[in-house]
Symmetry: C2
Subunit: 422 residues, 2 copies
């Protein structure tokens, strides 16, 4: 078996430390490196200070075979990665003509004037291998540095703009890493569950978990309304690992089948979309407290226009009456947050948009609007098909964002279960 | 002036390294610590391995006055933070009766049975100060450890579940940190811009930036469709710092006024909401390519029901005709992605929902559906009031998520500009 290739990911920028932006890059990089069998052992965020950057570079040089650095490559004065890399490697900056041509072309194409700051983006540390960025003006860079044991460590510097970074990684860096290292095989299998808490899931599969072989690890990853079970197998035989993972899934499935909605990258919205496509059904959505979030989740899926006809977000009660046909008497007698109202919304949106299936939400997302009878977190959901209309009452917490997200998860799962019975 | 209090934030969990979840906790923690004058100097993510956790604890002990650790406190076998802290401090686990009573009550209240795994959550390292978690079963913990120079370092361990962590920080840890340390004053002022690129902004304000005093730093934080300018002032006189920051804002504003939509935590959706409230206007939304995302952004704001009546998401062309009154001839002649169609959508939603203002989107979000005439990223937006209907053509890129987010930003800004003229 080959040695584990160890990677560290370093993000540079005060804005990450101060919490002014949320770092989504390193999660993506982690997934991609894992997929090619490189093990991420540490992720570090560090400020825009030369000495702090130098310190982490020296530390990581001792620990990792690959260092991926993102950020600090912008054209402005607070971006100091390139100068710091020059200090680290003991080299100067050299203007790269290919990079300059690309930057110039980038500005010409957009009919924008180029500034000296932009031209400076074509300057690279003298020992850098230039990695062309087709999607922005900051180039990628690849460095190699000998270590005491004679092996050479790879250091990659990438822009922090997510889509530029992703393109550079996908098209240039990952292939180059695969060529450079001999990596062990790491395989993941993710089981996606919904509607069961972490500790209950753990109790239910305890015997199976205890019997897992040493080279297969299990992790519980809780998220809104669901828990992901991640199996990770390490070895050197691709087919064997796939086979072993499939075998473990077969063993555990009978224990949790009711709560499993998918595997790996499946999301509720894609699973529901596939079911609608398969069964040739169309969907309409009526949203009150979720305010468009359910529709936005459904339409995140490319190709969703094949089954999603549209939504009516009826925040105001008038809209519930005029657009969805909810009866004014129902609103007077039971209120908008009621089983009767949400039922009429789900049935009404089917009729209004002419779809086979209608789903609906009505509730109090908070922080205001609660009453002793109907506290914040009281939310009704409904699913209507040509056979029947089902409703369900959710009693959630006091946090608006969380209530909107959880309601969406439960509603999509309700729709999934209903579609499985169609 | 007091010494800088330096903090490191450590997140524990393979799922973060492998990219299976995106860490949002540390951004939030960074903001909160910064606000109380504690400087975050490093953030590290480390896997669920005892030796890796011990290593970073020893390192951070040398560097930081405060260490905040999140994660690895769940009830399941892969959560090893508590055992590792026992090893680090050389102590054993002791069952905490207050914690046990709380866990027991938590399960009784929900009518759920408690397992041994849950009971184990009340076991704490012997030297831990117990920090009560009212929102979940994993307690917070506060430790102090003497350093060579006689000062004592604070180590805080918190659950990784975001809302539990946030509550513990807000209600227990931040007040305790403020009491424990004498911190310098760090003040931030954020200027939020939209519709101007980073390097153009930098050129425009270069002279002002170069003249900033040493204790006021500037950073450019680009995000979708906008750049945040962050000013950070450090000192020991609260009033003076506020005054100095206000002065700098007054100096720079004339250079960028047209592009500034707000300050600090202002978001386009809150600014637009305030304008609608102020001018007593109501809003309806017609969405095609954004699929509900515009509405979801608007309704993220608590109290948005005061001005937001609702939306019609018309993914299917039939819905554009029946619900929004778009003329079938318009769709035949110009297509749904056209100035004529988006104009009729914005006007139609005002009429359908009975609102003062209507906004609309229609475009090709991608990845499919593009034509040579109308490539992916061709998107029309419109804003209709009782005075006039404005339209604008956006030429965006090829990425679905990005197109949806950028369109929403541009549309909300279009609405903002229109409202300023009302």
């Amino acid at each position: 078996m080959t040695n584990t290739v160890r990677a560290e990911v370093i993000t540079i920028g005060d804005e990450i430390l101060f919490g002014q932006i949320t770092d989504t890059n390193t999660a993506w990089i982690g997934t991609e490196l894992t997929n090619i069998g490189i093990r991420v052992v540490r992720k570090t965020s560090i400020g825009d200070q030369t000495d702090a950057i130098l310190q982490i570079l020296h530390e990581a040089h001792q620990r990792a075979d690959v260092i991926i650095i993102t950020g600090g490559l912008g054209p402005t004065k607070d971006d100091i990665t390139k100068k710091t890399l020059c200090t680290y490697f003991g080299v100067g900056l050299v203007r790269n003509e290919t990079a300059l041509a690309l930057v110039t072309g980038f500005f010409e194409k957009r009919g924008r004037e180029m500034t000296d700051l932009n031209r400076g983006q074509a300057d690279l540390p003298a020992n850098a291998i230039y990695i062309q960025n087709d999607w922005g003006t900051a180039p990628g860079m690849w460095f190699e540095k000998k270590r005491a044991d004679g092996t050479s460590q790879v250091l990659v510097s990438l822009p922090g703009v997510p889509f530029e970074m992703k393109h550079l990684m996908t098209n240039r860096i990952l292939p180059k890493l695969t060529e450079h290292f001999e990596t062990p095989i790491i395989k993941h299998k993710m089981i996606r569950t919904v509607g069961i808490g972490e500790s209950f899931l753990a109790e239910r599969i305890e015997a199976w978990e205890d019997a897992l072989p040493d080279h297969i690890k299990l992790a519980y990853l809780p998220s809104f309304g669901g828990v992901k079970l991640r199996l990770t197998a390490t070895g050197d035989d691709n087919t064997l690992l796939d086979h072993e993972l499939a075998e473990q899934v077969t063993k555990v499935m009978p224990l949790i089948e009711k709560n499993v909605f998918g595997f790996d990258t499946d999301e509720l919205e894609t699973v529901v979309g596939n079911l609608l496509n398969e069964k040739k059904l169309t969907l309409g959505v009526a949203e009150s407290c979720t305010g468009g979030y359910v529709s936005a989740q459904i339409t995140k899926v490319p190709g969703s226009s094949a089954y999603f006809w549209g939504s009516i977000v009826s925040y105001n009660n008038t809209v519930k009456v005029t657009q969805l046909g909810v009866q004014p008497e129902t609103l007077e007698q039971f209120g908008a947050v009621s089983e009767e109202a949400v039922r009429q919304m789900a049935e009404g949106v089917r009729k209004a948009l002419g779809t086979n299936v209608g789903i609906a939400t009505s509730g109090i997302a908070g922080p205001d609007g609660g009453t002793p009878d109907k506290p914040v977190g009281t939310i009704w959901i409904a699913c209507s098909t040509d056979r029947r209309t089902s409703t369900r009452l959710l009693k959630l917490g006091q946090y608006r964002d969380q209530n909107i997200q959880l309601t969406t998860t439960y509603l999509l799962n309700m729709l999934r279960e209903e579609l499985l019975n169609q």
